[in-house]
């Protein structure tokens, strides 16, 4: 069965025997994540000691500890921690959604926004900006609505055409609807003023600066629900990789399973993109790296991708802050993920090409 896209041999090289054990992944992931969170909160224009961070968190939870300095408390609890948690949720969600899309489409080049989320959220965000409605919560609301509209249209067309959600039908209607939304975005841009255009471009670069607890709250439910449901359904995703007929013969309904997974991944991605703007490469690269580390079995892969994406995006965001502090120029986190991700992806392509010839 031919699979469209590049050779599947891009991901090779893990060695595991028992692919279903979750506990080691959970333990290692939690430890690394905790370490990275402490590091990210500690470093910046004002550095704080890890002990102070823990004291701030404990006193927020009203545990009987000595309260930290109010200035430290503000920096930790109101500025850095919400931003770090936003990075954790966005990174985890994007990586998990990317893993799902790559599995559902049996294609290692699928990325989380493939089914209209990218085009739809951009149009929604631009409408908010051009309509003068962009506040720190209405812009995400517009972007989310735009993404959901695009996803709904794509799935509606695929189901309504009687194509039984075959992947080809989905991808083609996805391309058509995305092109439509991009055209509307271009049209709106050509009618917008300079300030609006530059605000839009700033949004498309993606970033986590000045994200507050409200933003974290907007992402947490879609990301956690997606993570839990997919780990629960991970084996169905493995079996879907065999192809639709094989899946059916093994008792997995390809239609229902694919629709559920696509909708979960799309809603999760839309919620994240609405808050952070489009951040590339996390959803593409992290699943590949994790597949090398823990193998292709989705039960473990999904969990590992969640940790990997969270840590990767958080550290990329830390780089932007460390860069901004002496220079005063805040670069977008999307720039860093692409700068790190693109060369790594090229390395993967070269490696797989070499393996293909030998």
């Amino acid at each position: 069965m031919p699979v469209w896209g590049v050779p599947m041999s891009i991901q090779q090289g893990h060695t595991t025997k028992n692919n279903t054990k979750l506990l080691p992944t959970l333990a290692v992931g939690t430890a690394l994540l905790a370490g990275a969170i402490i590091l990210s909160v500690a470093l910046g224009s004002v550095s704080v000691k890890p002990a102070v961070i823990l004291r701030a968190i404990f006193s927020w939870a009203r545990l009987p500890v000595e309260a930290p300095d109010p200035a430290d408390y503000t920096v930790i609890m109101l500025i850095r921690l919400p931003r770090v948690m936003a990075a954790v949720l966005a990174g985890a969600g994007l990586a998990v959604a990317g893993t799902i899309m790559q599995g559902v489409f049996r294609n290692p080049l699928a990325e989380p926004g493939i089914l209209g989320v990218s085009a739809g959220s951009s149009f929604g965000a631009l409408l908010a900006i051009a309509g003068g409605l962009s506040t720190f919560l209405t812009l995400p609301a517009f972007a989310f609505a735009g993404a959901m509209l695009a996803v709904g249209l794509i799935v509606g067309v695929a189901v309504g055409s009687g194509g039984k959600s075959r992947t080809v039908t989905l991808i083609m209607s996805g391309m058509a609807i995305s092109a439509l939304f991009s055209a509307m975005t271009s049209l709106t841009l050509s009618l917008a003023n300079e300030y609006q255009v530059s605000s839009y471009i700033f949004w498309t670069m993606g970033g986590l600066a000045n994200r507050r607890w409200a933003h974290v709250g907007a992402m947490i439910i879609p990301v956690l629900v997606t993570l839990v449901v997919i780990i629960y359904k991970a084996r169905d995703l493995d079996i879907l990789l065999l192809g639709d007929e094989e899946a059916r013969a093994l008792g997995v309904s390809p239609l229902l399973t694919r629709m559920l997974m696509i909708l979960l991944a799309s809603v999760c991605t839309a919620a994240i993109v609405a808050v952070t703007g489009p951040i590339g490469f996390v959803g593409l690269i992290i699943p590949h790296i994790m597949r090398m580390l823990v193998g292709p079995s989705h039960r473990r892969l999904i969990l590992a991708s969640a940790f990997g994406g969270a840590i990767f995006l958080m550290l990329c965001d830390l780089l932007t802050r460390l860069f901004a502090w002496p220079t005063g120029a805040e670069i977008s986190v999307g720039v860093v993920t692409a700068l790190v991700g693109a060369p790594y992806f090229l390395f993967l392509i070269f490696r797989s090409a070499r393996k293909g010839t030998s």
Partner: protein, 269 residues
Amino acid sequence: MEAELTLNTAPVRMLCEQLGYKVGGQNRLTILDQVSFSAQNGDFIGIVGPNGAGKTTLLRQIGGLLQPTAGTIACNGRLVHQYRARDYARICSYMHQDTVMPFDFPVRDVVLMGRHPYATALAAYSAADYDYAERCMERAGCLQDADKRVTALSGGERQRVMFARILAQDTPLVLLDEPTASLDIRYAHEVFRQIRGLAQAGKLVIAVMHDLRAAARYCNRLFLLYRGELVAQGDPEDVLHEGHISYAFDIAAKTYRNELGHWDFDLVE
């Protein structure tokens, strides 16, 4: 290759009446027409016929992978396409001609997928599942490949893995689409022997067969399909009558018993 397997041989009765399948819009193309048969536990039925006769289509109908456009196909008194996928997967397993996976799963994991219809959603596969899969791999002759990646296997090795997965699914009805197409003569014989053993133990096996000699030798019943119609069914040597062969395959053939007493044929120039 003789690891012990406890086999599920629950009663299964397939009843197919006036089954038809057409595709295309205005000038509809008939793939299957008025196919009727019944089958139950203990049979190893071979579906034979020329290319394009509808052999695989019939097998897919039985497996619930296609819905008929005319007639009915029922398993244990219930239409096949009315079963929930998971319920039918505990009755019927289906081996495709070839299966390619996009990511490199270890062979062991692919065979374990055969246990999926029985596993509860959240729990990992049990130790019993691992043990059963291991014995299936031994039976199918692929235990030595257990920790290799499926993407690194040859076509023949992959076909043995898929056969192991079918054994692991352990359903009373087993459907096989040319299960030995990529195998060398030794493994082809071994796999056919295994399949005949499954039927003798009480499963119902239906296989698309390309090799008429193998069909005559291992099956106890044959279906001869020609242009979507079931033109002959019954005892292998009756179905593989010279007249039937020349009619269905449009070629003159002479059938005889070879020195070992097996059915054989040769083409007449």
